[in-house]
Subunit: 477 residues, 2 copies
């Protein structure tokens, strides 16, 4: 895939990555150089040190065999503790021990940066709890698990981008700061430059937001959907991929105040097309991770969730079940299962219902469609029954709702009626314009990217799959 000569320089001039060295493309017998950090060092009685060097390029470190005959063995090699940075040169040789197929017979070791006071190094070689690691979020990518999360995150994100771009979608950077709270989706973060010690006031004594930076009260976005719709009605196929915010005081393993969301929007499309797109994207992205992150997934499969690879393989190969909400209610009522929240037509499905449906009933991902209109947003398309809307949720075993989407209401008169019911009359004139000028059936969905990454890695807490999590009382680093 590397197509320009200038790209080569990093690999050749700065370093040969551990991934390249372990990948089999460098001939045994070559003189090589590796730059990275010591994962472990073991000193044998025979006067040889075994130094495992890690550079983040793949899951495994490469082992360097360092003889005590090196000039700086006592002064430098003996100070190369876990976390120290080193440059090691030598010959790539077939490995004598178990594990990797090759190792480096070191002829030169340069200690670049030692670990000051190695006894107190916050992530010294031992197991740490994920909770502890959150307190050293700046150092935790040096651990096996967070390093693996980082690589899978990159592959998953890039796969989603390429899925869309290669299919002709346009990536739209919808705004982060917005003066309209369109959806009323939970509580909002206000964005302001007003001097809080000396707030400007109107004649009535209210805070005078006309003096604020944007001339009116402004917030962090909860969704790029409405903006994406404007672009879909010009470019046909678009998506957003950016940060999104909820000022909810949630202290769960599934909620972040700041998270990344993927929101495609397609024109001339109905709910069925939308479900096909969601399924196609999820299956493609999972397949890409299975193909490209074998080592990292192997680690998660061993240490975090022993059914992970089997589950992901299933998702990538099996068509998703699709069940209308009304049928799902019937199925739940006839299940014989006693739920904490009673089941009846009209309720919003609770987590226990969603999980039973995908984990017990379908035993795989399922798309629930056509929800009661009263529990869904004003912009979702009213079905002919007058009671339900063309909405969908994609539920996945082990995690529940992973995608929410809908066909949008493209009929101006119906939209106006729904907006009136929702107390939104007179607002969002620009959004109404999209129905006045060449309206078309269109649909889209939102994928919480971090939650999807939880699903793909088997990691339990969403705070461990985003580099620097933002939650109530936590915006450090």
């Amino acid at each position: 895939m590397v197509t320009i000569e200038t790209l080569i320089f990093l690999e050749s001039r700065i370093m040969t990555s551990v991934k390249t060295l372990l990948g089999g493309s460098v001939a045994v017998g070559s003189t090589v150089e590796v730059k990275g950090w010591v994962r472990t060092r073991r000193d044998s009685k025979a006067g040889i040190s075994f130094v495992a060097v890690h550079d983040g390029s793949c899951f495994d470190p490469i082992q360097a065999v360092v003889p005590n005959t090196l000039n700086n063995y006592e002064t430098d090699v003996m100070r190369a503790t876990t976390g120290a940075s080193v440059v090691i040169r030598g010959e790539l040789v077939a490995s004598q021990g178990q594990g990797q197929s090759v190792e480096i017979q070191a002829s030169e070791v340069e200690l670049v940066g030692e670990v000051i006071d190695a006894e107190t190094y916050p992530i010294a070689k031992k197991r740490h709890s994920f909770e502890y690691l959150r307190g050293v979020a700046h150092l935790r990518p040096r651990t096996n698990s967070i390093g693996a999360v980082t690589r899978v995150r990159t592959v998953l994100q890039n796969s989603i981008h390429n899925f869309f771009v290669n299919d002709g979608f346009q990536w739209i950077n919808t705004p982060i700061i917005t003066a309209s709270d369109c959806e009323g989706a939970g509580e909002l973060f206000r964005v302001s430059t007003l001097d809080m010690a000396n707030l400007p006031r109107t004649d009535k004594g209210d805070v005078n937001f006309s003096e604020d930076f944007f001339g009116k009260e402004s917030f962090l976005t909860v969704s790029g959907q409405l903006n994406a719709e404007a672009y879909a009605l010009a470019m046909s196929k678009v998506y957003t991929f950016g940060p999104t915010f909820r000022a909810e005081n949630s202290h769960t393993t599934r909620h972040l105040a700041e998270f990344w969301m993927v929101e495609p929007e397609i024109a001339f499309a109905d709910l069925n097309d939308d479900a096909n797109l969601a399924e196609g994207m999820l299956r493609y992205a999972v397949k890409e991770v299975l193909n490209k992150c074998e080592d990292d997934l192997g680690f998660f499969n061993k240490m975090v969730d022993k059914t992970l690879i089997e589950r992901l393989t299933n998702v990538s190969e099996t068509p998703f079940a699709r069940i209308p909400y009304t049928d799902a209610i019937d199925i739940l009522l006839k299940s014989g299962k006693k739920f904490e929240f009673p089941v009846q037509w009209g309720i919003d499905l609770q987590s226990e219902h969603e999980r039973w449906l995908c984990e017990e009933y379908v035993k795989g991902p399922v798309v629930i469609t056509d929800y009661p209109k009263d529990i869904k947003a004003f912009y979702m398309r009213l079905n002919d029954d007058g009671k339900t809307v063309a909405a969908m949720d994609v539920l996945a075993p082990g995690i529940g709702e992973i995608i929410g989407g809908a066909q949008r209401e493209e009929r101006l008169d119906v939209l106006d009626a729904r907006m009136a019911e929702s107390g939104l009359s007179g607002q969002l004139e620009w959004y109404r314009d999209l129905r006045k000028y060449g309206t078309v059936p269109h649909a889209g969905f939102g994928l919480g990217f971090d939650r999807f990454l939880n699903y793909v890695t088997g990691m339990e807490n969403i705070r461990d799959v985003i580099p620097f999590p933002r939650v109530p009382n936590q915006a450090d680093f």
Copy 2:
């Protein structure tokens, strides 16, 4: 590049894109269907209408030849004004007129959504000023110019992602909300959920931010660099690509309050490696756009900047000049040119100096390196002369500074001294940790993505290359 069967459905089931139809892969004589919006309609006296249909997939619309013998010619085709949405079916035939090689001989026209009150349609067929179009940002992607910007923006973004990911970089989503103003880079937007009508107070009467959502005063990020450094010192090669914010009251063609920034960070790298990376990335991305956006660039070259393609080709093919700041000052002093801001060693280069250097002296992109330490940030690596730091700016003709970067100060004692000079002692303990635990030489830079897109399209105003620009007094849509 499409590698999973489920991906095909969009093209085959929803629509055949205009790009595909005009691209030559569909045989003349095929029955085709196109879905899109009417760009223009011309009715001939001979009883034939020529309808140009656009769907955003490429610059050109496809022409449909519609005979007045169709049943719904009077009722529907005659109402298909500019902006109306249509589905047209018919035979793909060789074009009789000039322009496109193929057109559709229509046998069926479906009017999906008309334009209500066509006389007042905000972007009716005529030329509009860019300033006017900013007022209808939800409709402007339907125009030639903003549609072209949208496609180039997608290709440019995706090229940058793939440049990094294919070379083994990890994409790090650094936080948007942060409790630390590390750089003091301009004014900040505060993020808060406090009730401004009823602010909590400390005993001293100050606003009590410990009751705010994050437990302390928090802001929108001005850069992900410091966070990216933490990841580079574990993963070796990382980058960020996300929104960034400046609460500056700037009303220029080059400033946005919310813009997208690309920030790579590489370990075991010096300033020279950093400049190579910047040059490699810029040249790769420009080459990709030249290859993939021929039609859109052709439009910009014709309508906006007649030297555009020549200039971009030059950038993609010619190595960048590199000049140390001290030499650049000499060159400016000897230029004989009279500048508004006097030139002397120690000044921050002004726009007029930068532009003269790249436009008049080098006549191409130039990297200026090793600036005086007093005009640069504390984290930039002090050179051996004790006066300059290993900083760089990449300047491009017509736009000035497009990239700013530096080798980072990796020596703890020097960093501490620089932080003390900057009044930052005792702060950023986590950032100091990176120098205590396995520090390595490392470097990185920041690219203002929207400004780069200005450069690549020739568009004059940065407000016209981002979908919904945020500037003082403007956060609508």
